[in-house]
């Protein structure tokens, strides 16, 4: 079972905080991968928030092809960040880890945001396709104010490998998701590394997805660009979130109603029972059984945690106004926010959707059975 460490704060912080939290949960990851996804970037990137960031890994040849492709598309590179890698036992260095900040092609500079988002997605998918066969280009995200870093190895060792401990120019953000991967189902593949991202939605999970095949088939047959890949059975959770909130325009609480719907006899207390019935029928192919806890963020910076319908995997939320952590284990909370009031910790249960709005000043627990929200701050 993988380990999850998400932190959302009002101040910028280093991803090492997430990595140290993962370290406390070490027995749950086997070095088959770590993913870091940073949103609301600080440090050197604080002034570059409007520019899309292309995050990935390339061979030297792949980097050349990538640069040529981006130039042909009209993207102008305005900044490139590379981690200052150092040799660490057990980690095989690849040619180039990068986060490239681009300005939009001239023709798209004044385009509506939706068009720009579509362009970024198209471009990422094209790059992915270019490098997929020989793994010369691996791209994780291409979106403003979001940076992704993934590699195979132990989280703490990777933190050292990437030089994330290092100093003033280091990476910082207000929202960081980190996952230490325990490889179970599939071959080790960078695209199988959580967190997954699409158009502002990012998520990771600590479990499995027993109904992966029909869910994947359903998503892939929606005609939505970007619903591809699925080297990990957990990638569908990100795409279900995207489909529910962005494609269907449902409020985010309905993500819970889609993946773990109430039974008909349980909807009595919900004023939207009739809508729930239609949703359950229409989206039954997206119902999950888990077992898992899904932790992620939305485009507006809200972080969330949600459990499978039987609460078969752990998950814990706690913190202080200004800094909240969402972890798969409580020891991760203790490491990330040691000075919190532990009595206020939340352990999301099967009907709960826990959200922490951007700014991390409060936690909201939405109860699916009652359709009500309780705010804790």
């Amino acid at each position: 079972m993988c380990r999850l460490a998400a932190i959302t704060a009002s101040q910028y912080f280093s991803p090492m905080e997430n990595i140290h939290a993962l370290e406390t949960m070490k027995e749950g990851h086997d070095g088959s991968g770590m993913g870091l996804m940073l949103k609301d970037l600080g440090g050197f990137a604080e002034t570059l928030k409007d520019y899309p960031v292309l995050s990935g890994i390339c061979s030297n040849a792949g980097l050349k092809a990538l640069d040529e492709f981006m130039a042909r598309q009209g993207f102008r590179e305005i900044h490139m960040w590379n981690p200052e890698t150092r040799p660490v036992t057990g980690i095989t260095k690849r040619d180039c880890y990068f986060a490239k900040f681009y300005d939009y092609p001239t023709a798209h500079k004044e385009s509506p945001w939706e068009n720009k988002e579509a362009l970024l997605l198209r471009t990422r998918l094209a790059l992915r396709a270019m490098g997929e066969a020989d793994e010369s280009i691996v791209v994780f995200s291409f979106y403003p104010d979001v940076l992704t870093l993934k590699e195979v190895g132990d989280p703490l060792a990777l933190g050292e490998f990437f030089g994330l401990e290092n100093g003033k120019d280091g990476l910082k953000a207000r929202i960081i998701l980190a996952q230490g991967r325990q490889n179970t189902n599939y071959a080790i593949n960078l695209y199988a590394c959580h967190p997954f991202f699409i158009q502002g939605f990012g998520s990771m999970t600590n479990g499995e997805n027993t109904a992966f095949v029909p869910i994947r088939q359903y998503l892939m047959s929606r005609g939505v660009p970007g619903y591809i890949g699925y080297q990990s059975d957990s990638e569908v959770f990100t795409h279900i979130l995207h489909y529910t909130v962005r494609e269907l325009g449902f409020p985010v609480t309905y993500y819970k109603d889609v993946i773990t719907p109430l039974k008909n006899e349980e909807t009595g207390a919900r004023p939207d029972a009739e809508a729930l019935r239609l949703i359950r029928q229409s989206l039954r192919m997206l119902v999950i059984d888990g077992p898992n806890c899904i932790i992620g963020f939305l485009p507006d910076g809200t972080c969330f945690a949600v459990q499978d319908s039987k609460k078969l995997r752990p998950g814990a939320v706690g913190g202080v106004p200004g800094k909240y952590a969402i972890m798969s284990e409580e020891c991760g909370l203790d490491r990330a926010v040691p000075d919190r009031d532990k009595s206020l910790d939340i352990f999301p249960m099967k009907y709960d959707l826990v959200t922490v709005p951007a700014g991390a000043m409060e936690v909201k627990v939405w109860n699916q059975l009652k359709g009500q929200t309780k705010t804790i701050s």
Partner: protein
Amino acid sequence: MEPVKRPDKNHQLTLKEFPYIIRWRDDRCTRCGRCTAVCPVKAVVPGVRVERVVSSEGTTPTPKVTRRVTSVVRQVNDINRYCTGCAMCQLVCPNEAIEPEWNPAHKFLHFKNAGGDAYKRGGRRNDPGLSTLDMLKFTRISMLTDPALDAGRHEFHLRTYLGRILPPKDLPLVAEGGMLAVDKNADIFVPPVRQIYPIMIGSMSVGALSPAMWEGLAMGVAYLNEEMGLPVVMATGEGGMPPRLLKSRFLKYFILQIASGYFGWDEIIRALPQMMEDPAAIEIKYGQGAKPGDGGLLMSYKVLKLIASIRGVPMFVDLSSPPTHQTKYSIEEAVAKMIISMSMAWGFRVPVYPKISGTKTAKAVLNNLARNPYAAGLSIDGEDGGTGAAYNVSMDKMGHPIAMNIRECYLDLVSQGKQNELPLIAAGGVGKKGNLAANAAALIMLGASVVSVGKYLMQATAGCLGDEMNRCNLCNTGRCPRGITTQDPKLYRRLDSSKVAERLVDVFKAADTELKKIFAPMGRSTELPIGMSDGLAAGDKAIADALGISYVC
């Protein structure tokens, strides 16, 4: 003794040509006559024979020959009275003196066409081999990486939908204040959808079944729904249903079938104003897996008063349903019209779906229905389905296995993104070897939303004697020795409808447990594992490849 020059009496058959040979034991027989009385085809008859008895009395051998006439039980060698192997004789014999024995060397089909009458029978395809469904196994067992569920402890939601399901983007929903509401003013037709148990009872008509059998099933269905909380629905088959039931609150558990003879529909339409519930659905029968291309026939001797009144016809006339709907000439407009007409009759509150026999052309039908927003599903009945009466050649040699048909249709819907819009109902051979839940689960994982079963229920709930060795299969004759498919009160009095209902409940309760036992280790409980083909495997490479599942050995 017969003269040697003409030993065969002009084609007299030996018993070796017959599929079952009666083994009768003189020493055990008490001559009670029960076997000859019960035999539905009069294949065994009382007879006499002369016996030569040599006896000796006294202290020295003094053989004495006497001749005596003794009564015996004899099998006749009339092809029209062939022993069907039903074993009713064995059942009633108080002294284990008689039983039919399967004769693998028989030449029955060489002769069962006397007078030019092609062999007709009831029952199922005579194929005792394993069906594809029985060759599938569930191989993805969750253990440590993705914990299995506990069939005894965890909640399971074994329900499915019958009815056209709108894709999410077409739902009439509006978001207001962080909540979704159904927009009542939206000009969107939301088709009726029933939440039902994933195994339904397939079409068996009131005329084909005896009153006791039909009543037993109906009672069992009501009990399952109202006492057990299992929303099992039952299809009526052609010919309507008793008017009292049409006007009862129980109608919601029944799917009314309209077939090419339109029997019973006068009464159904007349009852419409008095209906207090809508039926579960309307099934338009275009084909039947057991006899593709063949119509229905209810023999005149089955058309007694009740059947005649339900079907709106005179008593004692043959009721023939043509192989095709005579008024329908194309799926593009005629079938669509029929679906609309049926929908209109109930104000578009009832799902209407067609049933076809398994066929290579199923995908063509499917694609047409996928484009018809009023089509509520597609029922495909595979070659292993059963019937009350058909030509032997239709039953044995015509048709298409259900597994491949369902798989191809499901994947076709997937390619269109409509896998959750048009439910597929799979039938034909479910439970053929007694594995009701396993067969149903396999079909669901191949892509079926609903699984329909009939023949298995006759066997399991009423002790139908038929099997794939052509045993009994007398459904067409009205002489069903179990009282299941007969209108003869003397025969159907043998059947206790309460017991049928009780057995039906037993069957569904057990199947429910078994389905959970299959789904739990695969980690599926909140929804049915429709299309979860990665959990399936076959030990035959060709089957695995054809179905797109794993091959294991």
